[in-house]
């Protein structure tokens, strides 16, 4: 039997900050973020990859951080909910979730915001159907999704009428 590595060195950029740690080989990215880095905004709601509470953006792609090992992210750029607000200003989506009462218990909210952020980067003017498709991997038990859809829609329109430059490919399936 060959020698098995039970830990790995990992260097990642999280919300613009470079961090290096030795991680257990079995450690999930979500536990790395929460337990090792103390970024507890990313949540865990299931153990089967269904609920989306742990959604983060890794190298520009939306990822459920309970479905990937921390060791797999070496060299990656990671965005979490803690990085959405810039210089003390909420992102338009965060502001819109607040204004439209798109959160109640707030447990799904970080993952929901990451999915919505990803959606609007790739499809800045989604239809309601596309919004719902974009967050179908994120479970919310409090809102019936009504105000979440409303909040995302409001931002997308604002972006469209406000003429924000959005460069990523539109219409990509989430």
């Amino acid at each position: 039997m060959g020698e098995r590595a039970t830990s790995h060195a990992v260097t990642v950029e999280v919300n613009g900050e470079k961090v290096s740690r030795i991680v257990a080989a079995r450690q999930l990215l979500v536990h790395f973020l929460r337990d090792t880095l103390g970024l507890t905004g990313t949540h865990i709601g299931c153990d089967t990859g269904n609920c989306g509470a742990c959604s983060v953006i890794v190298n520009g792609k939306l990822v459920k951080s309970c479905m990937i090992l921390a060791a797999q992210t070496d060299g990656a750029t990671i965005e979490t909910v803690e990085g959405l607000a810039q210089d003390g200003t909420l992102s338009p989506l965060q502001e819109s979730f607040h204004e439209h009462h798109a959160l109640q218990c707030g447990y799904c909210t970080p993952g929901m915001l990451m999915s919505a952020t990803y959606l609007l980067r790739h499809n800045p003017e989604p239809t309601d159907e596309e919004i719902r498709r974009g967050i179908r991997g994120n479970i919310c038990r409090c809102t019936g999704y009504v105000n979440i859809v409303k909040a995302i829609r409001a931002v997308s329109r604002r972006q469209a009428t406000g003429g924000h430059a959005v460069t990523a490919a539109a219409g990509e399936e989430v």
């Binding site: 507890t40 979490t80 909910v81 803690e82 607040h98 009462h101 109640q104 799904c108 919310c140 038990r141």
Partner: protein, 833 residues
């Protein structure tokens, strides 16, 4: 409008209550700065992992902890027998015998009674070590036959879960109001239904249960940081079992990621963690994982109704109902058999049924224990009533809208006393229904339905669900279950304080899980104290050290708007009284002349004579020499208030009394499309009209309506917890348990009617649970799609396979419904009844 808007001046626009305001809570939650239970921890803590039974029913032959303890990093293992030896008594039983003989301990002793029953708990240095070690606790089981049918469980030949009880029946009672035999003999028609079945499901909060428990070796204090939603209930149940008095508990909650009643169920885990911590000499942190939650955190009540008989007059007046009910409590009586009385808060549903007899049996089975689940126990009964009303309309060829309107409690009937003495406070059901029909564009859908005709392979169905959300319990109803119980009334506490620099703090006894208590409490306090909601800091969650609690404290049973805000109002008014008194002294004025505005107390009409709150706080806290002792003793600027609703102890023999203070009503209308080829159901349009009296924050109220609607639709079409014959749960994770997603739940058109409650301090009614209206509305829509003479919708859960069966019912197959029409009844004179 946002919470950052500038203070409003001018008397006319000065109230904050009643306004839609975005919430104070959101700032932290949208930035990932919330404080949920798994986010916290204690120095030196170990991670706990429960060892759970793979069998539904088995004798525990032996447990070998050796291999687990031999692992590096394992601190301790606690077994059921060891835990019992550390306890002073089993958990307190709500039921009288035989239910009280169905004892429960922190961990299973001698036997396991459901798949997921905890037999031991491991504490280790990491989550992973604990999980690995739990797999090395070797348990030898001797399997026993599983009891999984809630009706068969009551039969004497069925195997017993508790030999010592001699029966699987935990509680039985007959609720008999009016004279249903007379009504059945004299009605023009009797509609009979063989069986209706309300299924088992869970609102499954997205955050699982969790707790960090420390048994302090120095003080004996048990610190419990958890997301438990009814902390003092846990303390009252756990304390006597593990031998800890109330003043040695310190329950704390912070942000809670949803609860829906389910988080009333995990006090056994809290007890086990306390004992584990005591044994290991270090804090025990436990975060439930999803599969564990689905298996063991608690499910909603499953109820089967048999031999239903409904007396109806030919004009559509429904005189009452008669049924046998079998409620399946699962393996342990966690909060049960309270459900066996709580349904009777809504005996006639929204209708003027006068003659009701329900023969109610609650049984234990080898399934996960049930716990309160949004709409707890009333939802099951309301579903029965709504199915009855709907089936009556279909079978007698009457209009479903007209039958409801004819039988509704009418606006002029309030306050309306039900056959069992409950007082419906206010409402306007006919107008709610009209509004819901309009919002759902029912006229247009009826036209579409006719156009579609038959042969298109698609059917449209339109259904109504009318329900009540009874709020603010009279705990005296527990005595109908067990007259010996020392409970009655209700109450909630709040604390309001003027802090050192004149800031305002409010502490609540509640444990909000998204209901926006920090915001609405701030709105209410701001109005009374002459400040803005932004000026009021409301502590997050519950903290026993704050002393703002009573035995009923927590967030459950649709009551915050009444009992929680009633307490906030009382505390703020007490504080205001002190502020005014101090200001009158400081400004040499009469108390009647003092007004509070913008954080300043001033003499009305004299701009020169004013003192800011910081000045008053200074007088009391840091500059009090020379002040009259009488003034200081009255004005410490710390005001605690307990709101107590007006209740009497119910009559436990007649099973009558006022069981809840308020009755919010919901009328939902649902339009569905059924695909005949696949049985798939698509919701085309959905409307919900809620009447919860005066709304403190309409935005928050509407959010609650959306949420209750979403959960109800998901439960009716997608979510069900089913056990096979050996007692294995078929949906133990979110893979199998299809939680409603954004693709499944439609947009909801909301309408509101405000019928203020005459019984509450603010005209508000508790709301949020919602009475399960979507389950009723979806079933009714399905019934409409099936048409007259088609199958009867007899299950609350209708996933595509069942819908397919309903649509493709064998011609001539039994429908489970019968109408007996009697000539020469009471000559259609319903008015005389």
């Amino acid at each position: 409008m946002t919470i950052t808007s500038a203070p409003v001046t001018g008397e006319a626009t000065k109230t904050w209550s009643g306004r839609s305001m975005p919430r104070k809570e959101d700032g932290r939650l949208v930035q990932g700065q919330g404080a949920f239970v798994d986010d916290g921890g204690m120095h030196g803590q170990g991670y706990a992992w429960f060892v759970r039974s793979p069998y539904a029913h088995a004798r525990i032959v032996s447990i070998d902890c050796g291999p687990a303890l031999a692992m590096e990093g394992v601190y301790a293992v606690l077994t059921g027998e060891e835990a019992k030896a550390m306890c002073e008594a089993p958990f307190f039983a709500i039921a009288p015998p035989p239910g009280s003989l169905m004892q429960e301990w922190p961990l299973a002793v001698g036997k396991v009674r459901y798949q997921g029953d905890a037999v031991a708990v491991v504490l280790a240095d990491t989550r992973e070590t604990a999980r690995d070690a739990a797999e090395r606790v070797v348990v030898d089981y001797e399997p026993l036959p599983a009891v999984t049918d809630g009706v068969a469980a009551a039969e004497p030949t069925t195997p017993l879960l508790y030999d010592e009880a001699g029966t699987n029946v935990a509680w039985h009672g007959v609720y008999d109001y009016g004279d249903v035999d007379w009504a059945l003999e004299n009605a023009d028609h009797v509609v009979k239904l063989d069986r209706l079945h309300f299924h088992r499901f869970t609102s499954s909060p997205l955050e699982c249960n969790g707790a960090v428990v420390n048994f302090n070796r120095g003080t004996g204090v048990v610190d419990v940081l958890s997301n438990y939603q009814m902390p003092m209930f846990a303390a009252m149940v756990v304390g006597p079992t593990i031998g800890v008095p109330m003043n040695k508990f310190n329950f704390v909650t912070k942000d809670i990621g949803g609860a829906f009643g389910i988080k009333i169920g995990f006090y056994p885990q809290i007890a086990a963690l306390a004992l584990l911590s005591k044994k290991a000499g270090r804090p025990a942190k436990w975060t439930e994982f999803r599969t564990e939650h689905m298996l063991s955190a608690g499910h909603g009540n499953e109820r089967t109704f048999l031999d239903i008989e409904v007396p109806v007059m030919s004009d559509g007046t429904i005189l009452g109902l008669k049924a046998r009910a079998f409620d399946d409590a699962g393996a342990y009586l966690h909060y049960e058999p309270l459900g066996a009385v709580i349904w009777s808060q809504v005996v006639p549903g929204c209708y003027k049924l006068k003659h009701v007899r329900v023969d109610y049996t609650e049984v234990v089975t080898n399934k996960c224990p049930v716990v309160p689940n949004r709409g707890y126990s009333r939802m099951q009964h309301l579903w029965l009533v709504e199915r009855i009303v709907d089936v009556v309309a279909h079978e007698l060829g009457l209009d479903a809208v007209e039958v409801r309107k004819r039988n509704y409690v009418q606006p002029e009937d309030y306050p309306y006393e039900t056959p069992n003495g409950c007082i419906y406070d206010s409402g306007d059901l006919p107008r709610s229904l009209d509004l819901a029909l309009e919002l759902a564009h029912v006229d247009e859908w009826r036209a579409r339905q006719r156009e579609l005709g038959t042969g298109s392979g698609r059917r449209i169905g339109i259904g109504i669900g009318s329900t009540l959300d009874s709020g603010t319990n009279n705990f005296g109803q527990s005595r109908i279950i067990n007259p010996e119980l020392p409970f009655s009334g209700n109450g909630e506490a709040a604390f309001a304080k003027l802090d050192l620099f004149g800031e305002i703090n409010v502490n609540l006894g509640t444990t909000p899980q998204g209901q926006g208590h920090e915001t609405t409490a701030a709105q209410v306090a701001a109005d009374i104290l002459g400040v803005t909601p932004e000026d009021v800091t409301v502590s997050t969650g519950f903290n026993q050290a704050n002393n703002s609690y009573v035995g009923f404290s927590g967030t459950y049973a649709s009551q915050f708007a009444v009992s929680g805000l009633g307490a906030v109002m009382g505390a703020a008014q007490k504080l205001r009284h002190q502020i005014v008194k101090l200001a009158a002294f400081a400004l040499q004025a009469e108390e009647e002349e003092i007004e509070l505005e913008g954080g300043t107390a001033r003499v009305r009409g004299d701009e020169e004579r004013a003192i800011p709150f910081i000045g008053l706080a200074n007088m009391v806290y840091t500059n009090n020499a020379g002040l009259p002792a009488s003034l200081l003793s009255e004005c410490d600027l710390n005001a605690r208030y307990v709101y107590v609703p007006p209740f009497e102890v119910p009559d436990t023999v007649a099973k009558t009394g006022n069981l809840t203070l308020t009755y919010a009503s919901q009328v939902h209308v649902c339009v569905i499309e059924v695909d005949e080829e696949t049985g798939e159901v698509k919701v085309l349009e959905y409307a919900a009209v809620d009447d919860c009296g005066k709304r403190i924050n309409p935005l928050v109220v509407e959010g609650q309506v959306h949420g209750a609607t979403g959960l109800g639709i998901a439960a009716s079409l997608y979510e069900s917890l089913d056990y096979d014959e050996s007692g294995q749960l078929q949906e133990p994770s979110f893979y199998e348990y299809h939680v409603g997603t954004a693709m499944d739940i439609p947009d909801v058109a909301c309408g509101d009617i405000e019928s203020p409650s005459p019984f509450t301090p603010n005209g508000a009614k508790g709301m949020g649970e919602g009475g399960g209206a979507p389950l009723h509305a979806v079933c009714a829509a399905l019934q409409d799609a099936l048409g007259g003479g088609g199958a009867v919708v007899s299950e609350s859960h209708n996933h595509w396979a069942r819908v397919y069966e309903l649509v493709h019912r064998e011609p001539g197959a039994p429908r489970g419904v019968e109408v007996i029409t009697r000539s020469g009844g009471l000559a259609n004179d319903a008015a005389s009844l």
